[in-house]
Symmetry: C2
Subunit: 197 residues, 2 copies
């Protein structure tokens, strides 16, 4: 491509993008859903959290499934003064194999989430792997949708998990589906510290 | 679902998953590509970086497009002792509108990346928005594929960007495509600190 046709193309692109930016003028917190089978949903939520903390905002994470305290994300973030990190899960549901225990853990996690969603001090709340709570009927969506709709106007919420309940999709501002095009695990590479946990 | 059918289902699931884990026994660094139009690619890379740093690993980030130093991710990570952060871009290409300047910035960024890909001290390297360098023909893929293949065996590399050059896809271990199902921006919500930057 010549320098001048590049310039033409980029000038047109800049006009379109500048116009879109001018139209997007509303300032408010958003509900972001990160779903799908691909790698990168929870890590995306943690990256956004880092971004928020970088701006001096206050955040919270509730892990609905993970029960381990040796993950890199927890080791990295746990001492941050502007962040609460709640590990509420008892492990993956096929590890616990105990439906009643899972339901109790889910309800305890939701009680904490409910409090955060009423607290204007929190700018960003990550509900990590919450979607499994609906898939396995551990939690009802109705009270959760209600709490999300009533939350402080500036508060951002990120929910992750493979399959996302439809009532959450109906009220979300941003939805990304992470497609699993390829995964090293299927080619025999072991889950490793820093990448998978 | 009854507790006993839940237990059956979870026991079968555990068997399948345990077998898969046993088969995945290779330990080595992986090349991860995060592509697609949806929100969450760079933030996923930064989240994985946090995870790696949490395990005491050493990391580096090269931002090929972004030129600003006021992003939340930079403010958050810049002082970490185990991390180098290089902001090499001059802004988005439709902002600079100068093809020669963009090419020079791309080449300078690649020179730094090449050095990191030869250095076994680095466990994880994020090449943020590098894919645009190929889309606009600012860089050739051949020397980059070669450097990636020759890198230290334990080194993880994450490359982000909307469209990913095919030669990179051919050698990648993990590829996730982030689909844009919905974006708050299109519904008039302004890009905001902590979420978009």
């Amino acid at each position: 491509m010549s320098d001048s046709s590049h310039l033409d193309r980029m000038q047109r692109k800049k006009e379109v993008i500048d116009e879109r930016i001018a139209r997007a003028s509303e300032e408010r917190g958003v509900l972001i859903l990160l779903k799908g089978n691909g790698k990168g949903k929870s890590s995306s939520a943690f990256g956004t959290l880092a971004r928020s903390l970088g701006h001096g905002q206050k955040g919270a994470v509730i892990q609905f499934i993970k029960g381990r305290r040796e993950t890199g994300e927890y080791l990295f973030f746990r001492d941050h003064p502007q962040l609460d990190w709640h590990i509420m899960g008892q492990g993956f549901t096929w590890e616990t194999q105990d439906r009643q225990r899972d339901i109790e853990a889910a309800e305890a996690a939701w009680e904490i989430a409910r409090g955060l969603l009423e607290d204007p001090a929190y700018n960003v709340i990550v509900l990590d792997e919450m979607s499994y709570m609906f898939k396995y009927d551990y939690l009802d969506t109705a009270p959760i949708v209600e709490a999300l709709l009533r939350r402080p106007a500036h508060q951002n919420v990120i929910i992750t998990g493979r399959t996302m309940a439809l009532p959450l999709q109906e009220i979300a501002d941003t939805i990304s589906t992470v497609q699993d095009d390829r995964h090293a695990f299927r080619n025999g590479v072991k889950a490793q510290a820093g990448i998978e946990y």
